[in-house]
């Protein structure tokens, strides 16, 4: 069964067309990540799914039932916000039980669900504290706990990690992945961070300017991007784009090579001057210039390369992607 169906969803604010003909499906138990640069409409799309914004046109179905006119609380969803949005006047327990009390669940049922969720998230010692007495990471866990106790058909995460520091972000990311495995629930996760998208998703939806650019598993998108935007958005460091004219026997198109597919070779076609070297121990990132274009190469292991040095890079022809002037992939 499908957890979520969107067909031709459009959303405009006045004259601004924010979402354009979005059509997609989320299967039961799937972890779907909406990713895209800021302003691409991914958060708006999430709000439309949640029912916090009305779609201008199109149909939204959750669990096989059309929900266009159903209020947020009756859609069978739970949402985790970027700013946590905890109720400041309620304790952690109060925050987690409020929705259940609104649904008129029995006391024992509420107790049971809070128990399960707080054990899952290690929140037991904090149940009687107030949000102002918790750290950022703890607040985020409470926000997730508040979603879990509702046992929704669909979880919605709106950039839940962007307020956390780097170390905490990685831990919480793993926690969310474990949670998805443990709950086996359908989840939609919005982020602008491609690492989060790659590591968490069963399926990534890449958005740009309110349009779906490509949908697929992380490796599908990585190995087989449909256009220059998707190719450049996924992967870190991001893909190098060079005019074919810079290379011997080149044409008019743009060529894209991932940094890890470049290797040092004295006969290589790409002659560059090194402008910066990042030595990470396991990897060495070389940032170099060819004319006005920047090339990033990710070399495995440690290399004695310094700024100002002239190098030549080569690549396997089957690892190169070609794009036409409009950014479409040429095969």
């Amino acid at each position: 069964m499908t957890a979520l169906t969107l067909s031709n969803v459009n959303k405009s604010f006045g004259n601004v067309h924010v979402l354009k003909d979005i059509t997609l499906e989320v299967d039961e138990g799937e972890f779907v990540v909406f990713v895209g640069p800021s302003g691409c409409g991914k958060s708006t799309l999430l709000r439309v799914i949640a029912g916090l914004e009305d779609a201008s046109s199109g149909e939204i179905g959750i669990g096989g039932q059309q929900v266009n006119l159903v209020p947020p609380s009756k859609r069978g969803i739970a949402m985790v916000f970027q700013s946590y949005a905890l109720y400041p006047h309620l304790s952690v327990r109060g925050n987690m039980t409020l929705a259940l009390k609104q649904e008129k669940q029995s006391k024992s049922e509420i107790e049971k669900r809070v128990d399960v969720a707080s054990r899952m998230l290690n929140l037991e010692p904090y149940l009687d504290r107030y949000p102002s007495e918790l750290s950022g990471g703890q607040r985020q866990r409470v926000a997730i706990g508040r979603a879990i106790v509702r046992e929704p058909k669909l979880f919605l995460f709106d950039e839940p990690l962007s307020n956390l520091d780097a170390a905490l972000r990685m831990n919480t990311r793993i926690e969310i992945a474990n949670l998805h495995r443990a709950l086996d629930a359908s989840m939609i996760y919005v982020t602008h961070d491609q690492t989060e998208a790659m590591t968490l998703a069963d399926k990534i939806v890449v958005l740009r300017d309110g349009r779906v650019e490509q949908i697929g598993s992380p490796m599908e998108l990585y190995n087989n991007p449909v256009n220059q935007f998707v190719a450049g958005f996924l992967g870190s460091p991001s893909m190098n784009f060079l005019p074919e004219g810079l290379l011997p026997d080149g044409g008019q198109n743009t060529i894209g090579i991932r940094p890890e597919d470049l290797f040092l070779s004295d006969e290589g076609p790409i002659a560059v001057r090194v402008s910066h070297v990042e030595k990470l121990g396991g990897d060495t990132n070389v940032i170099a210039k060819i004319d006005e274009h920047t090339v990033t190469a990710r070399l495995f292991g440690q290399h004695a390369i310094s700024e100002g040095q002239d190098l030549r890079f080569a690549f396997a022809p089957d690892k190169a992607y070609r794009f036409d002037a409009t950014g479409q992939r040429l095969r």
């Binding site: 709000r47 209020p71 739970a78 949402m79 409020l98 929705a99 949000p131 950022g136 607040r139 307020n163």
Partner: protein, 279 residues
């Protein structure tokens, strides 16, 4: 830390200025208080002297107690002030929430219309208001005053509160909507507690003018049983003879209730409970 704050000279200068201002502001109150405990002759001989064994007298307070029903005046003033503040805050906050939260046709126009009230003094409409009160039979009731003061306070309340309501996190309200709270619950349980400092500001701004007002009680409710404290004190001020003992005593007593109300609201001003709600 700010460097200017650590500089001892600046600290002294700052506190000096604040202390000086406090003295200047409190001086009239102080003079009223000490003179209310003196005989009439002592008041005029040495207005700034503290009451001593010779000059000490409670004659002013005795006159005030005997003349008219001062506790009733107190009660009237209290009822009018508290009820007006309650309605100003309730309706002001509700209107401000609607203006800041919901998109509807004429939203901006409505906001401007309400803000216009800040610039037009309500006293201009006194004659019309009096006619209305006569027509509705509200003359000489406390309701007449409460309604007028509520109308007088609403524009500024809506203006200030809608500005603050815009700052309340959307995520918080949306979280409430997803959890199935009604719009009223979101307003009363989530938004109002977060704008409490702004509500206290509005309350303090409105409280003093209402408490001190002489104009509307004199015109709309001059009957003995609806007199407010300010109006009641006027009996001691005559065209040719003024009973200063009584006036000063009445004024001293009138300070107390406002002081208590102010302390209640100012604690709200200081208390910030937003911390921890949203990052």
């Amino acid at each position: 830390m700010n460097k200017a704050r650590q500089n001892p000279f600046n600290v002294v200068a700052m506190h000096g200025a604040l202390i000086l201002y406090t003295l200047v502001a409190l001086f009239p109150v102080f003079v009223i208080l000490i003179n209310s405990f003196k005989t009439r002759r002592a008041i005029f001989r040495e207005p700034l002297a503290l009451p001593n064994a010779d000059s000490f007298s409670l004659i002013g307070y005795q006159t005030v107690m005997k003349q008219g029903d001062f506790f009733l005046y107190f009660q009237n003033s209290m009822i009018v002030t508290v009820a007006s503040l309650f309605f100003i805050l309730l309706f002001g906050a509700m209107a401000a929430y609607a203006l800041s939260e919901y998109q509807f046709r004429g939203n901006l126009l409505m906001g401007l219309y309400l803000a216009l009230g800040i610039m037009i003094p309500i006293r201009i409409g006194t004659v019309a208001i009096l006619e209305m009160m006569v027509a509705t039979g509200l003359v000489n009731t406390l309701w007449a005053l409460i309604l007028v003061y509520t109308a007088q306070g609403l524009p500024l309340a809506v203006f200030i509160l809608s500005e603050f309501m815009r700052q309340v996190s959307d995520d918080l309200k949306n979280a409430g909507r997803i959890d199935g709270l009604s719009e009223y619950t979101i307003f009363f349980r989530l938004v109002l507690p977060l704008v409490r400092p702004a509500m206290a500001t509005v309350a303090v701004f409105n409280m003093i003018p209402i408490w001190n007002d002489l104009w509307f009680p004199l015109i709309l409710a001059p009957a003995e049983e609806t007199k407010t404290l300010t109006l009641g004190s006027q009996v001691f001020i005559g065209q040719f003879v003024t009973d200063w003992n009584a006036v000063l005593s009445a004024l001293s007593m009138a300070i107390l209730p406002v002081l208590i109300l102010y302390i209640i609201f100012s604690r709200q001003l200081i208390r910030g409970i937003t911390s921890g709600a949203v990052k």
